[in-house]
């Protein structure tokens, strides 16, 4: 963390037109947004979505971008939280053609430049920014730079599961057996074969997952300064 942050792109408020809405997993929605006057992002960055009620009351939340910079649209994946004021709206109400106030890209730390080797470790919907990295690597023809391990309760709950498996991701399922694996969390034995010198590790998931995974990596001897962490708080 002592490395000075390279200035990442950053954009102000824009109007986004919803171009596509898909519900690929039971508790989530994929929104494809046409963002006017868009500032191109780096994989791993996020956007803020702001909703405004008739009486000017507003609520805003941050969501990671799943799309690569070269995608003409910005794709966000939103996990639907039952008590979530913003996520229930985005998952249940939004339709193509709707306009949303968005701001981004934001964040320069949890961002991959597409040039350096990276170890991606994601839990649940924490895989979303990692999907942007996978797509960026594909765009650049540099999938060789990435090693990927993800954890999910079941395969059916994992958004982008097919894409991650196709990219060679090791998938640990904690509530069911998957392939040769029994149900269980990611372990050091899973991660050691994916570690290579010179990698930066990107860990994203719930606070509990991110803490466990990042401690696992540090325990394996990866310098803490080479581990970048994005923790999800409850943010309905």
């Amino acid at each position: 963390m002592t490395e000075p942050g390279r200035r990442a792109p950053s954009g102000g408020w824009r109007t986004a037109t919803v171009a596509g809405v898909r519900r690929p997993v039971p508790r989530g929605v994929e929104l494809r947004l046409d963002v006017a006057d868009r500032v191109e992002h780096l994989a791993g960055q996020h956007y803020v979505v702001r909703l405004t009620a008739e009486d000017s009351y507003t609520a805003q939340r941050s969501y990671s971008v799943a799309s690569a910079p070269g995608d003409p649209l910005v794709e966000l994946f939103v996990e639907r939280l039952d008590e979530g004021e913003v996520s229930t709206y985005l998952a249940d109400v939004v339709e193509p053609g709707d306009e949303l106030d968005v701001r981004g890209p934001i964040g320069g730390w949890f961002a991959w430049d597409g040039a350096r080797p990276a170890l991606l470790v994601g839990g649940g919907t924490g895989i979303v920014p990692l999907v942007a990295m996978v797509r960026t690597a594909r765009e650049l023809g540099r999938t060789d730079l990435l090693r990927i391990a993800v954890s999910t309760r079941t395969l059916a709950e994992l958004p982008y599961a097919g894409e991650l498996l196709a990219a060679g991701a090791l998938v640990a399922t904690t509530r069911e057996a998957h392939g040769l694996r029994t149900a269980g969390r990611l372990t050091a034995a899973d991660l050691v074969p994916l570690c290579e010198r010179g990698q930066t590790a990107y860990v994203c998931g719930s606070a509990g997952f991110a803490e466990a995974a990042s401690q696992l990596l540090v325990g394996m001897g990866i310098p803490a300064a080479d581990v970048r962490v994005e923790r999800f708080g409850p943010s309905g």
Binding site: M1, G5, D101, G108, Q215, G233
Partner: protein, 202 residues
């Protein structure tokens, strides 16, 4: 201001006046948002140094810091990710106490807080003086948990919480402002929640 979002009603109609704009009450939770692995720091290896534009640079060990006059904060904290937490209770030492001992020079106008991990954040000196900032090791009557910055963190509750550097070990006074970690990564230089200074340009 933009127009309303089609079909959005919003849930929380009764806004608690303690909530800054765009924030919500997280209740009893205290989310952890850190960009790096949590370091394990034994209290006996921790120290706090105040240096830079001061007449008397000083380092206090864990034991020495605990001999300083105890100071508490009871009130609210606000995270840029839009949660706020009411009625928190922290204890440690006032930054004023550390500055009285180190005596800032007349040209000291800013401070950079540095963590054991290398994390940095910058603040105007005026935001950490006058009873507005603490170096704390207690939360809710117990030791500050490591995931929340224990053994010791900075506490600047009137600004967004990324300014309250976890695992703080050094306060360096400067003549000129020097952007810290998040401030170089798209976030606002000052971070006043009441003015919604979240990102660069707010």
């Amino acid at each position: 201001m933009p127009g309303p979002t089609r079909g959005f009603l919003g849930r929380r109609r009764e806004r608690d006046p303690r909530l800054p704009p765009g924030q919500y009450d997280v209740g009893r939770d205290w989310p952890v948002l850190t960009a790096e692995p949590t370091p394990r720091i034994a209290p006996e290896t921790w120290s706090i140094t105040v240096d830079g534009r001061v007449e008397n640079p000083t380092t206090w060990t864990w034991d020495e810091a605990h001999l300083l006059p105890r100071s508490e904060y009871r009130g609210d904290i606000h995270c840029v990710t839009t949660w706020s937490k009411f009625d928190t209770w922290f204890a440690g030492v006032s930054v004023d106490t550390l500055l009285e001992a180190t005596r800032p020079t007349a040209d000291a106008h800013f401070v950079v807080a540095t963590s054991k991990t290398g994390y940095t954040t910058n603040l105007p000196l005026a935001d950490v003086t006058g009873g507005k900032a603490w170096v704390v090791w207690e939360y809710d009557g117990g030791p500050l948990p490591v995931e929340h910055g224990g053994p010791v963190r900075l506490l600047v509750p009137h600004l967004y919480f990324w300014k309250s550097a976890k695992w703080v070990t050094r306060l360096t006074l400067l003549q000129r402002d020097q952007p810290g970690f998040w401030e170089q990564n798209g976030y606002h230089d000052r971070g006043d929640p009441w003015r919604e200074q979240r990102y660069q340009g707010d």
